[in-house]
């Protein structure tokens, strides 16, 4: 079974390309349980494409991705879904569905072919909904939720899946300030308590610095920088990353980046 000593995710010599353009070249990366890694980069720099590749929803141009010490080819799709989960950027709701029903789809990989969701599954979903502040809305139709509520529902669905590696594509999209912090604290808590690992694509440099121990900067032309957030997130690196000068305000623990 899964080797406990091996990293949750190990990436070797990974190349990612879209329509002939190389986005990421020669990426080396490991993520251990309890870690939070933020991916930063401009629009179109390959954050989403990288997350999809790490989730094995897209084949890399070159290189290997190993989940819990084994390449994805060794896993049945359902078995991989026990170990890694992905928050996608957009959710589709062409057909009506209640909040609880939507959260419960996270149980899919855990249920047998003929099994129905039981009381235990429902408890897991209700706990997840409460964790993102959606308690009491279980019977509401998804179509009646606000954008931020839908985003939190998608996060709750992922929590209901209970993977060990969480890949979050812009988890703070549509969220107000209070919920942004709440979700990031949830991520921190899960990382430390549940022995899970997180990779988040974010756009807020200051929140990334505050909540994510490690950072990966994607420049969109193959170049990348990875390392501890405190070392990598410098005004020099970030100015180059975003193509706009950033400067530091304040000192020490209360220093912030602002766009110049």
């Amino acid at each position: 079974m899964t080797d406990v000593s091996s990293a949750l995710l190990a990436v070797r010599d990974l190349n990612i390309a879209v329509v002939g353009r190389t986005l990421v070249a020669g990426l080396q990366l490991t993520v251990e349980t309890g870690e939070t890694l933020v991916i930063l980069g401009r629009n179109g720099s390959g954050k989403t494409t990288l997350l999809h590749t790490l989730a094995n929803l897209r084949a890399p141009a070159a290189g290997q991705v190993e989940l819990c010490g084994r390449p994805y080819d060794d896993y049945e799709p359902r078995a991989a879904a026990h170990l890694r989960g992905l928050l996608t950027q957009s959710q589709n709701d062409s057909f009506p569905s209640s909040v609880l029903e939507t959260a419960l789809i996270g149980r899919h990989p855990h249920l047998g072919r003929w099994a129905w969701e039981g009381a235990a599954d429902e408890r897991i979903a209700l706990t997840a909904l409460a964790a993102v502040g959606l308690a009491g809305l279980e019977q509401r139709q998804v179509s009646s939720l606000s954008g931020g509520e839908r985003q939190r529902l998608a996060i709750a669905t992922l929590l209901t899946q209970q993977p060990r590696l969480y890949l979050l594509d812009e988890p703070l999209a549509h969220l107000d300030l209070g919920h942004q912090i709440a979700i990031l604290e949830l991520v921190q808590r899960y990382a430390s308590e549940n022995r899970a690992g997180f990779i988040l694509a974010l756009h807020d440099v200051n929140l990334a610095l505050r909540y994510c121990r490690r950072a990966l900067l994607l420049f969109g032309d193959g170049r990348w920088i990875a390392g501890p957030s405190k070392e990598v997130l410098t005004s020099e690196n970030l100015s180059a990353l975003y193509g706009h000068p950033l400067q530091v305000v304040g000192t020490g623990a209360s220093s912030y980046f602002i766009a110049a």
Partner: protein, 330 residues
């Protein structure tokens, strides 16, 4: 989300309704037969007029309605999942258009009934393969591309149908129009269609939870371990085949495939584990009821059943739709 017990209860009720609709259909008609006589005729004890009417006319027709309604409702529900579009119906990808061209061509040349069936089935399969081949193209098999290709092929078939109708001799027009509107009276045996329906349902039921995820989005379904490529291929082929069998059985009966999945969805929720079998039973029931009405309302004249399915379906659908918002608020 319905519990498993509630789902089984709903299916049981629908099965009772389906049986009742067949029973009513068997006892209704211009030849008056008491229920007991019908029962004796079914058991083969009545060799007279009653036996002929029940075994030779009413039973094949009722079973054909059951099979056809079930096939169309199941195919419609699958197409809606495949195209992630609640407005999809079994005919949206041109299957019935192809069948109509095949069948009308056979009629135009005055070919025998067997050739008509072969033409309808061949036309349906040809349309299905054409749409699939064109939409598959570069390997990018998005539902937009599929939908557009299907709509265009269907439009092309519609033009061919209009062409055939305009050059067809007067005395063939009525038969052609009835075929186009759907007609259950030509059925000899519905058992093959019922068998196809049962096999089709048995093929998708094990994957119904996976299909529910597919309807919510390809990417998130794959992230949850659903093999979406294979699944989409399966439901595309299956929905097309089911439609081809239904069209071959009774012409293109409109509305059932679009409206029955929605009726079930509005009444019992969107869980495909319940929706797929419930749609089969509800579709069969609706079509048997509509066909019974079609042959008794203005007897001895018969109405095209497609007109009745629409006349029955539209008010029920509108009623369910109008009460839906209130349920959302509460």
């Amino acid at each position: 989300m319905p519990s498993r017990r509630r789902a089984l209860l709903i299916l049981l009720l629908l099965a009772v309704a389906a049986s009742a609709s067949v029973a009513v259909s068997l006892t209704t008609g211009s030849v008056h037969l008491a229920p007991l006589e019908v029962l004796r005729a079914l058991c083969g004890e009545d060799a007279g007029l009653g036996g002929d009417v029940v075994r030779g006319l009413r039973l094949p027709r009722a079973l054909a309605g059951l099979a056809c309604g079930g096939l169309l409702a199941l195919a419609g529900a699958l197409m809606q999942v495949l195209l992630k579009n609640p407005l999809a119906d079994p005919y949206v990808l041109g299957v019935s258009g192809g069948a109509s061209v095949g069948a009308l061509t056979a009629m135009l040349f005055g070919l025998p009934l067997l050739a008509l069936h072969a033409g309808a089935f061949g036309g349906a399969l040809a349309a299905m393969l054409l749409v699939f081949g064109l939409a598959h193209g570069e390997g990018s098999w998005t539902q937009t591309r599929l939908l557009l290709t299907g709509v265009i092929v269907a439009a092309g078939c519609g033009a061919l149908v209009a062409l055939i109708l305009s050059i067809a001799p007067e005395h063939q027009l009525r038969g052609m129009l009835f075929w186009l509107m759907g007609d259950l009276s030509q059925t000899e045996s519905a058992w093959p269609a019922l068998l196809v329906l049962a096999v089709g349902l048995a093929c998708v039921l094990p994957f119904s939870r996976d299909l529910g995820l597919l309807a919510r989005g390809e990417l998130s379904a794959r992230a949850l371990g659903v093999p979406t490529e294979r699944l989409r291929l399966l439901i595309y082929a299956l929905a097309s085949l089911l439609t081809a069998v239904a069209v071959n059985l009774a012409g293109s009966i409109g509305f059932i495939g679009l409206i029955v999945p929605h009726l079930v969805r509005l009444a019992a929720g969107n869980d495909l584990r319940l929706l797929l079998p419930a749609a089969v039973l509800a579709g069969g029931t609706l079509l048997v009821v509509a066909d019974t009405l079609a042959r008794v309302v203005v007897a001895p004249q018969q109405l095209p059943v497609g007109v009745l399915t629409a006349l029955l379906g539209v008010p029920v659908f509108l009623y369910l739709l109008s009460r839906q918002p209130q349920r959302n608020e509460s």
